[in-house]
Symmetry: C2
Subunit: 193 residues, 2 copies
């Protein structure tokens, strides 16, 4: 993502297209070409579109449904709109709305992505929280004034080895809350409602 911020014009802001560009760059490398030279267009498309058919972590569907009773729950993702719509349909994610950074012609962690979403929701950063499994995402959200919630997911965050405890602000860290699931987050919101 640093490359994107340094030179946004160097990449497409449609993640499907970027995924394909990355794949095309990998499969022509000498160490891969013996496996990939026989791949058809369909094989490559199927790999790129695997992102559209991801499964949710087991706590997500029920947890989001609980959270939605109290809050507006939206996705804000670097995935393109169609990817997110397909993903939500495939995994049955009950988002209130879908915001792709494609709408804003950028990628997170560009502050614009967070601020434009908040503007379109007719609200202010301090009334919103970003829930993320990546510290870079929470850090960028914090920088523009959002509350930040971290949910650890195994092998998801290159900054946080699986099993390492992430500290909250109260414990000297940077995020407001760490929760283990969307169900726990819904309970936390319910208790503070």
């Amino acid at each position: 993502m640093n490359t994107v911020l340094q030179d946004p014009s160097s990449v497409s802001t449609n993640l499907d297209i970027m995924h394909r560009q990355i794949l095309d760059g990998i499969i022509i490398k000498p160490e891969w070409v013996k496996y990939t030279s026989s791949w058809t267009e369909e094989d490559k498309a199927r790999l790129v579109f695997a992102w559209h058919r991801l499964s949710a972590w087991p706590d997500v569907v029920q947890g989001l449904a609980e959270l939605k009773k109290h809050k507006i729950v939206v996705a804000l993702s670097n995935g393109n709109m169609r990817l997110l719509v397909d993903m939500a349909k495939h995994a049955n994610l009950p988002w209130d709305a879908v915001f792709s950074t494609e709408l804003f012609n950028t990628y997170k962690p560009n502050p614009k992505a967070y601020l434009e979403t908040i503007r379109l929701l007719g609200t202010t950063p301090e009334k919103c929280a970003l829930v993320a499994a990546h510290m870079w995402d929470d850090r960028a959200a914090k920088a523009v004034g959002l509350k930040t919630i971290y949910i650890p997911r195994p092998d998801e965050d290159f900054e946080v080895p699986t099993g390492q405890i992430v500290k909250t602000k109260a414990e000297g860290g940077i995020v407001d809350f760490v929760v283990s699931s969307f169900g726990d987050l819904a309970k936390l919101v319910e208790e503070n409602h």
Copy 2:
């Protein structure tokens, strides 16, 4: 809407703001001022935000749920994003995604509204249908190549007096299908699936 297309810079593309501007223009007229001069800021805001708390027609929630089994179902509305999110939450509308023309800095029937939505969905006009209760909306959608479906709603369409039959293309009209409810539309899609 014609005024908007002639001079888009004359109005806000946030419908809440435009509704408020229209309200402010009405309530200072001599025939209204005796009723409205005592209105507080809260009274005016409550009127503007009534759009966020609309009820759905009785066929909509179940009909959309059926339709969603076969198709991607999105809103494309002149309402601003927050209005649409609130409306969906209030009326329990299970849209796969919400597209406000606010995202494209215009209003329907500007062709850009339809075409940008189709682009973001990674598809083409001929694979999409617009479902509308206003002929002006279907007419604009047809002009950019979408299929068109009309659902009559009493007192909704200034071009079509309540009870007047709208003709399909097969009958010499301009829309592809006329259906009486989202349930009927879901059945039509299921039969042609």
